[in-house]
């Protein structure tokens, strides 16, 4: 059909162009002669006929012959507890940014097939994130090193160990000229090992390599006198959460646990009991956290620190004592536009009434002094920003701001 058809005396049209210009007819969907198109001497009809016949033969007759030969290759020595064909689950951890995510890896006949969260691990509670889900592909990465390398060439683990032995034996002294590069895992046994190396080879250099290093956060903690630590927040007791460029429900560290805790205070039951939490997000980019926030303010990245300083001064004005020096963090004189000031006013008012039930989280992208301000400000003495949590065992926990447990990072 090339012209607009006529139905009930009314011309029918199929496109705006055929309506405005009914004589032109509708545009052809297929090119001219498509139904007779021939490729390699086989017409469309012939092609379908041949396909049909071969499909019928393939489906109809192969069902009637013995299936192809298959083999069973059992282990020569089967690992204990292994039943062929049954999945086994291994508990493990994934470290990103110094935080361990508890995982269960499903393995089928020795092949890892799926990574899921470990319900019994506090950082996961059964959940995972994109990094964890992707790690299963890592295991099949052809570029993944399967053996020790020596100057880029394949070597063996035994050779590598022998070389390390020889090098260390050569270092009977304090280890001058010896450097160790290691990935950062804040596990107690790792720390103990590194400590014993440091003790034996006092002059050796130990470098950690981590592409999700939380350097700014750590430095910020150091500013308030908690060295080599990162904060661990408890959102389950927080009525108000303020995110300063922190995507703690998306790409931030510990996002799985924080999301679960945050969501736990967003249930309809919580709303009925008047316990629903409130989230302010002050951020330069779109994030999952910003999208979830009750109130979101988009500012330039450099303005996030300005906001933190404004907030600190508003809190000080509303009777919260800031320790000496807090105002000085951030350097130059405070300059803020109207929106920022209005927001700082509102947030400060909300926070002032929430002593011990509010959390301010600063994103890793922000410079150390913003982190320092968030911890330093009113958190130390009047416990208003961070809710207090019984400090869990940790060497430096006593010095950490209340409400955030400080864990040594290295």
């Amino acid at each position: 059909m090339t012209k607009g058809s006529v139905k009930n005396g009314q011309p029918q049209w199929r496109s705006l162009s055929s309506r405005t210009n009914p004589d032109q007819g509708s545009v052809r969907e297929f090119p001219e002669g498509a139904e007779n198109l021939e490729l390699d001497g086989v017409s469309r009809r012939q092609f379908l006929a041949i396909m049909g016949a071969s499909t019928a033969l393939a489906g109809g007759l192969t069902g009637c012959v013995r299936k192809e030969v298959e083999h069973i290759l059992p282990y020569s020595r089967r690992p204990e507890d292994q039943a062929d064909g049954e999945a086994r689950f291994f508990a493990t951890n994934l470290y990103v940014g110094g935080v361990a995510l508890g995982l269960l890896v499903k393995s089928q006949d020795g092949r890892p097939s799926k990574v899921e969260g470990n319900k019994e691990h506090p950082s996961s509670g059964g959940g995972t994130n994109v990094f964890a889900q992707a790690t299963v592909l890592d295991l099949y990465d052809p570029d993944r090193s399967r053996t020790a390398l020596k100057a880029g060439a394949e070597s063996t683990l035994e050779e590598a160990l022998a070389a390390v032995d020889a090098a260390l034996v050569g270092h009977k002294d304090a280890g001058q000229g010896l450097a160790i590069v290691i990935d950062s895992k804040p596990s107690p046994s790792n720390r103990a090992l590194l400590a014993s190396i440091a003790k034996r080879y006092a002059a050796a250099q130990i470098y950690t390599h981590d592409n999700a290093d939380q350097a700014n956060t750590r430095e910020g903690m150091a500013l308030v006198g908690v060295a080599s630590s990162h904060p661990v927040y408890d959102l389950s007791v927080a009525d108000v959460v303020v995110s300063l460029d922190a995507d703690f429900m998306g790409t931030g560290v510990d996002a799985v646990r924080l999301t679960r805790q945050f969501a736990g205070r967003r249930k309809p039951e919580a709303a009925k009991a008047g316990e629903i939490n409130r989230l302010y997000a002050i951020e330069p980019a779109f994030t999952v956290t910003g999208a979830t926030a009750d109130n979101r303010l988009q500012v330039a990245a450099s303005q996030v620190g300005t906001f933190a300083r404004l907030l600190a001064s508003k809190l000080a004005a509303s009777g919260v004592t800031l320790p000496a020096g807090a105002e000085a963090l951030g350097g130059a004189a405070l300059q803020a536009d109207e929106t920022l000031t209005k927001w700082a006013d509102a947030v400060a008012k909300d926070l002032a009434g929430k002593r011990g039930k509010a959390v301010i989280i600063v994103g890793e992208r922000q410079p150390a002094w913003v982190h320092g301000l968030a911890h330093r400000g009113p958190t130390r003495s009047p416990r208003i920003w961070l809710p207090s949590v019984a400090s869990r065992s940790s060497s430096s926990a006593s010095a950490s701001p209340p409400g955030c447990m400080a864990l040594p990072t290295s």
């Binding site: 009637c64 282990y75 020569s76 020595r77 064909g85 049954e86």
Partner: protein
């Protein structure tokens, strides 16, 4: 002008009309019979890389199936045993036998023996040994007299119709848990009725073998 076709050719269409359907029907019948698993699969008896004999080990020596197929009661697969199971004995029994060379090589170099699979369902059909054993179905109901086979052969068609035949009325195929691997056991000679057995862990009325498609095609 001479006739091209003789007179009898007038009857040709009639003859064709009578014969062709017959041919088609017999071809269909032949495919249905000789093409069915009953014909193509039963008796399948491939040569194995090691001349392992169930007749000797399970029959004459009376070893329990579960000594070797030890996951059969708790897993979907009965699993062919690892080489180490054979070496439990053959490290000392016939340590020089040429027939066992492949086994010794596997144990020494930690490489698997490449057995040929005998019983094989297509991937779209789900089967689980442990469920059947805990319900009280014996090996011999599905694998025949393995203890009399020097080389394992498929005894039952393993076709869908065969599975369903038992699923519709499993009572006659159930036995006490203690007789699961007893190849010689027979319900008539043992005069056993599953629904009257007070010792059964799982009562017959509690068994629900699936007849709906998704039970086996998951």
């Amino acid at each position: 002008m001479a006739q091209i076709f003789p007179r009898w050719s007038n009857r040709l269409p009639l003859a064709i009309a009578a014969v062709v359907p017959l041919l088609v029907a017999s071809l269909g019948g032949a495919l249905w019979y000789w093409g069915s698993p009953k014909f193509t699969d039963v008796g399948y008896r491939p040569e194995q890389p090691v001349p392992f004999s169930h007749k000797l080990h399970a029959g004459e020596m009376g070893m329990d199936c579960r000594y070797c197929h030890n996951t059969v009661e708790k897993a979907a697969m009965a699993a062919v045993p690892p080489t180490s199971t054979c070496m439990n004995c053959h490290a000392n029994v016939l340590p020089e036998s040429a027939k066992l060379a492949r086994i010794r090589e596997s144990a020494k170099n930690d490489v698997p023996v490449k057995w040929v699979r005998v019983h094989m369902l297509p991937d779209y059909a789900y089967f689980n040994h442990s469920v059947h054993l805990s319900a009280g179905v014996g090996c011999s109901s599905c694998h025949g007299r393995i203890d009399q086979m020097p080389v394992v052969a498929q005894a039952k068609p393993l076709s869908m119709g065969w599975c369903l035949e038992c699923h519709r009325a499993p009572e006659a195929n159930l036995r006490p848990a203690s007789e699961i691997t007893n190849m010689a056991w027979d319900s008539t000679t043992a005069n056993y009725r599953a629904d009257e057995d007070p010792k059964r862990l799982r009562k017959v009325k509690d068994l629900h073998p699936p007849e709906h498609c998704s039970g086996c095609h998951r």
